[in-house]
Symmetry: C2
Subunit: 376 residues, 2 copies
């Protein structure tokens, strides 16, 4: 390998400092000022372990113990909680703990790819309750009862909301169904926990996973897992040889800076969740404005989440006759200070209105109008 | 929960800014200046995913693909490599991929606790080749042959070095034994990869795991896993449904700042590995100086690693007659600007000379002398 290639690694940078960010993957994970402040202090490896006496979740300084045993459960509406590397890792921990190979897990048709991969890793079979298809792609939780009846699953998993359409199925109704049929129920809240109010107990769920880097204004990898206390002995079971260590966590998970940012951003996250209604209003205003240009919002309407996808046929048609093909849109938006359009994407655009202000979203609308006008 | 408790989370800090750090867990994970610079730019969740087209390890900007497919394998002496959350997570990935429940894994008596926990998580049985006991605790790799013969393991794992004694067993010899007996062989390099030269192929190993936060000047959680290319189809197998995604990685692992620091520190890490002989000389000088005070270095002598443990009976005896009991030593060392003594520990001290300069280590020696004198 060339030395110059290696040297270059020491000066990495990102391309979009102050751009308007509408990328669904990124809008909920942008750090708060408080989190940015702790980055340097807690940058070193094992930085949160200064005073560890053998268990990450028992560390008193920084107050990990308080955070994990008191603050997180209250926030999640759970009886117990732990730290994970991310939502997918929480999903795997649960599947791996409470199922055995060849068991069935029933999931919604809008599940994240990582749910399927986690199931595959654990050797269980997925049975999918499909969504309603174009254009709303809704998941009818009533339909789970029959599927549960038929397949006798070891777990039911609902994506709340999914990361493409931003659809919010009736998670509480599914909770009641699962509860009455005696099946453990996991809610994947990667796009809800830290953005909007979500209480595991109100959803009648056994498990709730959240993502620090996706929705809790945290650096990645980081995540949270809430559960009913009856599952502690299973999911948080201790090692036979090393009584202090939880088997599914391999002892410790977030040994450093990502936990520091998760904790430092938490007060802000609590506050922003309380203002979720403003986010929904902003999303609905944006959806209406996009439709006024001629784009079609897919997924539920009126929309109840900042993540959404638009069918943008007019933008696709332009791509068929310009030199840059599908890449023109990314370039045009980037030139207008807007970040989050996937290079090459024009047919359908996945966006999030979470991080942008109303004024910034007006700029986004104006940008689309200008591009349509330019290439008309 | 009280609002004040939550608000407090936004102002976390660490207690020891410019202290001399001799904590084995921390000395190899302290960030370089380059890594500290990228912290803020890459602090946001999913920061490395700006230009992702579906696979973390294929991202061109920042140059993750180059790093994972070219630079890391050359550094590790492996044919293939991937990113993990840490050494333990690499160990679990391998065990989970190549064994089935009830298989046997043969390990050395100095294995890290997380090796046992990873085995437990995968449902395999550990068979231990014991160390030689007090005072050297060495692992004789010749002894593995008989144990392999008897137990027909699915994997042999060697800790190189262990994190307590810093002993370096003959890893290449075990590689030849495992090779000749047809057993896959994993080297846990959590305390070697990034500190000292270690090449998987020279050790005749199938797998080599390293830890970003422990030994690669990186934020945590982060780690690396090198392997022979013949294992790619097993350990890096793709999902049946999502062909872009690796099952054992749940799709993606280091989606953010910890990968940025791992890469930014890498040029420095390459350089420091080339100066390992200076680290060994410093460690040996320190060991001699500690023994001149009356402490006894356990583990191999002459010592070949910066991690070591000393029997410090004189310090323990003091703890029996002072008001602070075992905590006096932590307080005395902290007051002298030295970080890394576990509160309460006096009987045996685990230390690392890796991050401290020769002059700083002289201060450590002087501190011990002064404490012994004060309480004589």
């Amino acid at each position: 390998m060339k030395e110059a290639d290696i040297e270059r690694l020491s000066s990495l940078s990102r391309p979009h400092g102050d751009m308007i960010n509408i990328m669904p993957l990124q809008t909920g994970g942008m750090l708060t000022e408080a989190a940015r402040r702790v980055l340097v202090d807690f940058g070193d490896g094992y930085s949160v372990c200064d005073f560890c006496q053998g268990r990450l979740v028992d560390i008193a300084n920084p107050p990990v113990r308080r955070f994990v045993t008191e603050i997180l459960p209250e926030f999640l509406g759970s009886e117990s909680a732990t730290l994970t590397y991310g939502a997918r890792d929480g999903v795997f921990m649960v599947i791996h703990s409470i199922t055995k190979p060849a068991d069935v897990v029933v999931v919604d048709g809008n599940r994240h790819y990582s749910t399927a991969v986690a199931a595959e890793r654990a050797g269980v079979e997925l049975v999918v309750v499909p969504n309603s298809g174009y254009p709303e792609y809704t998941v009818d939780t009533e339909a789970f009862a029959g599927v549960i009846q038929e397949h006798n699953p070891a777990l039911v998993l609902l994506t709340y909301p999914d990361g493409r359409y931003g659809n919010l199925p009736d998670a509480a109704r599914l909770g009641k169904i699962a509860e009455s049929m005696g099946v453990p129920y996991l809610v994947n809240g990667a796009y809800s926990v830290g953005r909007m109010p979500v209480q595991m107990n109100e959803l009648h769920a056994d498990f709730l996973v959240g993502s620090g880097h996706k929705s809790m204004a945290s650096a990645g990898p980081s995540g949270v897992l809430g559960m009913k206390s009856k599952w502690e002995d299973v999911v948080l079971r201790r090692s036979a040889l090393h009584k202090n260590k939880e088997v599914e966590c391999l002892g410790c998970t977030l040994r450093g800076v990502t936990l520091a940012t998760l904790m430092a951003s938490f007060p802000h996250v609590v506050d922003r969740v309380a203002h979720w209604d403003e986010q929904v209003a902003k999303a609905q205003w944006f959806s209406t404005a996009m439709e006024a240009i001629g784009f079609k919002q897919l997924g539920e309407k009126p929309h109840r989440h900042d993540v959404m996808v638009f069918e943008t046929t007019a933008l696709f048609e332009i791509s068929q006759r310009v030199r840059d093909r599908g890449y023109y849109l990314y370039k045009e938006m980037e030139a207008r200070g807007i970040w989050g359009i996937k290079p090459g994407q024009t047919k359908a655009l996945e966006l999030s209105t979470f991080a942008a202000t109303h004024e910034q979203l007006e700029q986004v609308i104006e940008a689309f109008k200008a591009i349509l006008h330019k290439y008309r």
